[in-house]
């Protein structure tokens, strides 16, 4: 993984903006930012407090070539996908997608913060959703609670006990899903083949861009 990081850094030399443009989803929009700051003021208040660098700053740092600082940042992982910035930006920069795109790229390079909770959620969610084609809510909840080990998991599970019991009573949490019942697609096999192909094609496209860099 860190190998890939070195390769990419070498390929794009000192042009971090170009690296983001070619490797991060919607990264080619970063240059459109005029630094007005509207996006930074648009993040949900209590999440805003967690941003080391709000979007406007991230975009400035990309242009300034602060590669390490951007890619290892905790910031992008605070995005709730609320699209508030997105609809307000005067330059129509698709900020939400760029935040996700940079985060995904940082993860691909092995630079994302270790044990970042939203990264863990993203991994767990996608793996859960694609295993059978549909989300198994009980197993999803279990893997989320036990991420910090069994002790912490049980403590969290106890805290969440009332929430879960309420849902069970209201028939909105199906315990059978924990045992591998629950919702599944019929053509799981086809889904897995399709996703393997999609992954392969995406890797090829991105490698092609880096080769031309």
């Amino acid at each position: 993984m860190s190998n890939m990081n070195e390769q990419m850094a070498a390929k794009y030399k000192n042009n971090f903006l170009k690296e983001i443009e070619e490797q991060a989803e919607m990264g080619d929009w970063v240059k459109m930012c005029m630094q007005c700051g509207v996006c930074s003021g648009s993040c949900p208040t209590n999440f805003h407090a967690g941003w080391d660098h709000p979007p406007q700053e991230i975009f400035m740092m990309i242009r300034a070539g602060k590669r390490e600082e951007v890619l290892t940042s905790n910031s992008m992982w605070q995005c709730t996908s609320c699209y508030n910035c997105y609809v307000r930006c005067p330059r129509k920069v698709p900020i939400t997608h760029i935040m996700h795109g940079i985060a995904e790229y940082a993860y691909r390079l092995g630079l994302a913060p270790k044990m970042q909770p939203s990264l863990h959620l993203s991994q767990t969610f996608w793996n859960n959703a694609t295993k059978h084609g549909r989300v198994n809510e009980v197993q999803l909840t279990q893997s989320l609670y036990f991420k910090d080990g069994i002790g912490a998991g049980i403590k969290k599970a106890m805290e969440m006990k009332d929430v879960a019991l309420g849902l069970v009573k209201a028939k909105r949490l199906n315990i059978m899903e924990a045992l591998g019942g629950g919702h599944k697609c019929k053509d799981v096999d086809g889904i897995h083949k399709m996703l393997a192909k999609a992954k392969e094609l995406e890797a090829k496209r991105k490698a092609g861009k880096a080769a031309g860099a």
Partner: protein, 298 residues
């Protein structure tokens, strides 16, 4: 023949026994009254939602949505897709837009779909259930079947993020959308002046950053009480769950005494159309809506 027919994309949360199963129950009752036929897309899959961005990357996410498009197109030709979950709707629309504007992405997606024996000719239109109600039917049509108006009941219309941004409902503003208020009034209820209607509840990050999300949710509920509302109404399963199920924890943490039922627009409509508590899925509310249960029994 029903007056309108759609390929239905319920999403993971609206299946039987899942977290928004009561949404599904009330949508089915509502559609029956309105003579709207919704047919589940055979073998549909999860769209991945926004949060999967890091693990999934771009193409695999579009491929998941594309599979649903292809299944809808071949099994339910000519029908628009309708989703009830804001996140499903958003994810599907995003994929549609990207694929239609990027030939390379479309070609790659088709190649991936081939592995599952599918392919896309034309991507169907993708609507949220609210769009079906407002744009395809219209408020007048929604009002006609009202048998029991929800007179004297006060609701705060919590629109949230993803039914509102970035696509939103046609003709509505991002900062102050009024469609939910209008739906509340259409069924005879009173929509309170509510200033947190488009505040984000934290979305999926309610799992990964619970303290920050619960602080958001606290503001959302508090403002609903301040507006004089007795209940909250939402168009999105995740908004519903987030604003309902954490109230107990918020009470413990902040010493508040929140106990506000959170309903779907489709539950109000089902009740106003004369449906029973069961048909409206009221038994699925964790914080019971006693006032509505009584109303339904009358």
């Amino acid at each position: 023949m029903a007056r309108k027919e759609y390929a239905f994309y319920p999403g993971c949360s609206s299946q039987k026994g899942a977290s928004a199963s009561n949404y599904l129950t009330s949508v089915e009752s509502m559609c029956k009254t309105l003579d709207i036929k919704i047919t589940e897309i055979p073998d549909w899959n999860c769209c991945g939602a926004s949060i999967s961005y890091a693990e999934a990357g771009e193409l695999p996410r579009h491929a998941m949505n594309a599979r649903n498009f292809a299944l809808a197109e071949s099994n339910l030709p000519g029908q628009d897709i309708v989703a009830t979950c804001a996140a499903c709707w958003l994810g599907a629309r995003e994929s549609k837009e990207r694929l239609e504007h990027n030939d390379r992405l479309m070609a790659d997606t088709q190649e991936a779909l081939k592995e599952a024996g599918l392919n896309i000719k034309t991507i169907p239109e993708i609507k949220h259930m609210v769009e079906v109600l407002i744009e395809d039917l219209g408020y007048d049509e929604l009002k006609k079947p009202v048998k029991k108006p929800l007179n004297g009941m006060k609701f705060a219309g919590y629109v949230g993020c993803q039914t509102n941004r970035p696509f939103g409902i046609h003709g509505e503003s991002f900062e102050n959308p009024v469609y939910l208020d209008k739906l509340i009034e259409t069924v005879g209820g009173e929509a309170t002046p509510y200033d947190q209607k488009v505040t984000c509840c934290g979305g999926a990050l309610a799992f990964s950053e619970p303290d920050k999300a619960q602080a958001q949710i606290k503001d959302i509920i508090e403002a609903a009480y301040d507006s004089g509302a007795e209940m909250l109404v939402t168009p999105c399963p995740l908004c519903q769950a987030n604003t309902e199920v954490y109230q107990g924890q918020i009470n413990k943490k902040y010493g508040t005494k929140f106990q506000m039922p959170v309903l779907y627009y489709s539950q109000l409509m089902t009740l106003a159309y004369g449906g029973s508590a069961k048909e409206a899925g009221l038994d699925g509310n964790v914080i019971r809506a006693r006032k509505l249960e009584e109303f339904a029994g009358k």
